[in-house]
């Protein structure tokens, strides 16, 4: 059973995160804009995650197809494979698994980076030199994760479908054109748009939590490890909550 201290700490954490979010929205539109640093973060964050996301997505495509094929075969419904795989990957599996992979890599990276900057007084040095560290370090990273995750998810979805096509081609002798025709024809507006929109929120949540944990890191080097670790745990938990909300709203508007 959770103790009252844990519950209290949890609510304090949520409160602090809310203030942090409020500060983000207050400062994101005010000058000066750190555009160059934002682009650098986009490159770093996108580039650093591309290989991992690509490999993960490819394996997801392979595994889903391999595991589902025997069941569909039993009912003589192998021809439904491309549409089934595309809908499940685009709607849910792609965004969630890629976001979780991204959280593992980026939220922990940001948490550790900002945490070590905090404990070695680099953030204070930035403040003293007349640069707003919140704008330079936090806002640029949150915007970069918000923008990069949807792009990575789109790339990852395509790679996952390609992985699925390879299995279908090997086992069922399906051509590239036929597979992707079936896969893409099965998708509707209600599959693509909500799934893409929710990835912006996932990206925002991952950047926000990573920055929050790192920016307020305490207790020296031990704190840096804790910041990195708790950033991943908190971000992953938040992803599932956001996913539930996104699916709930999508269900209301698109009747999935």
């Amino acid at each position: 059973m959770l103790g009252s201290n844990s519950i209290e700490r949890f609510f304090i954490e949520v409160g602090d995160l809310s203030y942090f979010t409020k500060r983000f929205f207050k400062e994101v539109f005010s000058r000066p804009f750190e555009f160059k640093e934002f682009l650098r973060q986009c490159y770093n964050i996108g580039n650093r995650s591309l290989l991992l996301v690509g490999v993960t997505a490819f394996i997801i495509g392979l595994v889903i197809t391999l595991q589902t094929r025997p069941t569909l075969q039993e009912f003589g419904a192998e021809s439904w494979m491309p549409s089934m795989v595309s809908i499940s990957i685009i709607r849910e599996i792609g965004p969630v698994i890629i976001a979780l992979t991204f959280a593992g890599r980026i939220a922990s990276g940001i948490g550790a980076e900002l945490g070590s900057m905090r404990v070695t007084e680099q953030i204070d040095a930035m403040e003293v030199s007349g640069t707003n560290p919140f704008k330079y370090l936090v806002i640029t990273r949150i915007l970069a994760t918000t923008l990069m995750l949807p792009i990575l998810v789109i790339i990852g979805d395509a790679i996952a479908l390609y992985g699925s096509y390879i299995i279908e081609n090997l086992k069922g002798d399906v051509s590239f054109r036929l597979y992707f025709n079936k896969a893409l024809n099965a998708l509707a507006f209600g599959d693509l748009v909500p799934a893409t929109i929710k990835t912006f929120f996932f990206g925002f949540a991952i950047g926000l939590v990573g920055c929050f944990k790192g920016y307020y890191c305490e207790k020296g080097t031990v704190g840096v490890g804790l910041a990195a670790n708790s950033a991943v745990v908190f971000a992953s938990m938040l992803l599932f909550i956001l996913d539930f909300i996104a699916v709930f709203i999508t269900d209301i508007f698109f009747e999935i």
Binding site: M117, T120, E121, Q122, V128
Partner: protein
């Protein structure tokens, strides 16, 4: 040791203080760290604040530069009340006040050149519009004797070199005041002497006023024109090094034991 009235008489000949702190208080929960600290730093002066670890020296200096908010008290830098400054005014004022951090605080992900260029990005106007900052960077590095390190990363530097580069980064905006937070801590005696010598040269060359926080008696002996002993969050004693070193008070004597 001189009493506070004598010091104030001497100081009245020096004009207005460039930094003034009155009745500064700061607590963390139930732990009162500063309990009414006072300070006046005059133009061109080297003032050393000595105190044991945990006596509130670093907290005081962080309140002074606006990194921490005091619970109460008055802080004035170059005639401006710190509590009334907007963010942009504070940033502007900070170009006149350099801060050397205890652990150097160099940006790990940047080269030495980028570290030195960083403070210039918001304050180029101080030197006119400078597109090419290389001359300014090279001048600052030459003054600390590390021009060759311009393209190195902080991880490739020794502790003493890091401290020198941090000092060069502090100097690049040509501040009128430099705040040193434990400038010799963690350094071997030879490197400490080099840093102390460098601090003296910089003061002569840039004509800065310096506020030095340290528990290093050797550093205080060489650098201090005046000293304040910070004990239990208050000014326990003030005077020159010789005055304090020859005092009979037990608490003061404890500072000067080797």
């Amino acid at each position: 040791m001189t009493n506070r009235n004598d010091i104030q008489k001497k100081q009245s000949t020096k004009g207005n203080p460039i930094i003034k702190i009155e009745n500064l208080m700061k607590s963390f929960g139930d732990n009162a760290v500063l309990k009414g600290f006072n300070l006046e730093l005059y133009e061109g002066e080297n003032l050393v604040i000595m105190g044991k670890s945990g006596s509130g020296k670093s907290v005081m200096i962080k309140c002074l530069i606006g990194l921490m908010e005091p619970d109460s008290g008055y802080i004035e830098i170059m005639g401006r009340d710190l509590s009334r400054l907007s963010r942009s005014d504070l940033d502007e004022l900070r170009t006149e006040v350099g801060f050397l951090f205890q652990g150097s605080a160099l940006y790990d992900s940047m080269t030495v050149r980028e570290n030195l260029e960083f403070p210039l990005r918001r304050h180029k106007h101080k030197f006119g519009i400078v597109e090419d900052t290389t001359p300014l960077v090279e001048e600052a590095l030459k003054n600390v004797g590390l021009l060759d390190a311009i393209n190195l990363m902080p991880a490739e530097l020794s502790g003493g070199m890091k401290r020198r580069i941090a000092l060069a980064r502090t100097l690049i905006l040509k501040p009128k005041i430099i705040l040193y937070d434990e400038p010799t801590s963690g350094l071997d005696p030879i490197t400490s002497k080099e840093i102390i010598e460098l601090m003296r040269n910089i003061q002569k060359q840039y004509k800065t006023s310096s506020l030095i926080i340290t528990h290093d008696v050797d550093c205080a002996r060489v650098v201090a024109e005046r000293m304040i002993l910070l004990v239990d969050g208050i000014n326990y004693a003030e005077g020159t090094y010789n005055e304090l070193a020859s005092a009979q008070d037990k608490k003061i004597k404890a500072f000067f034991k080797h």
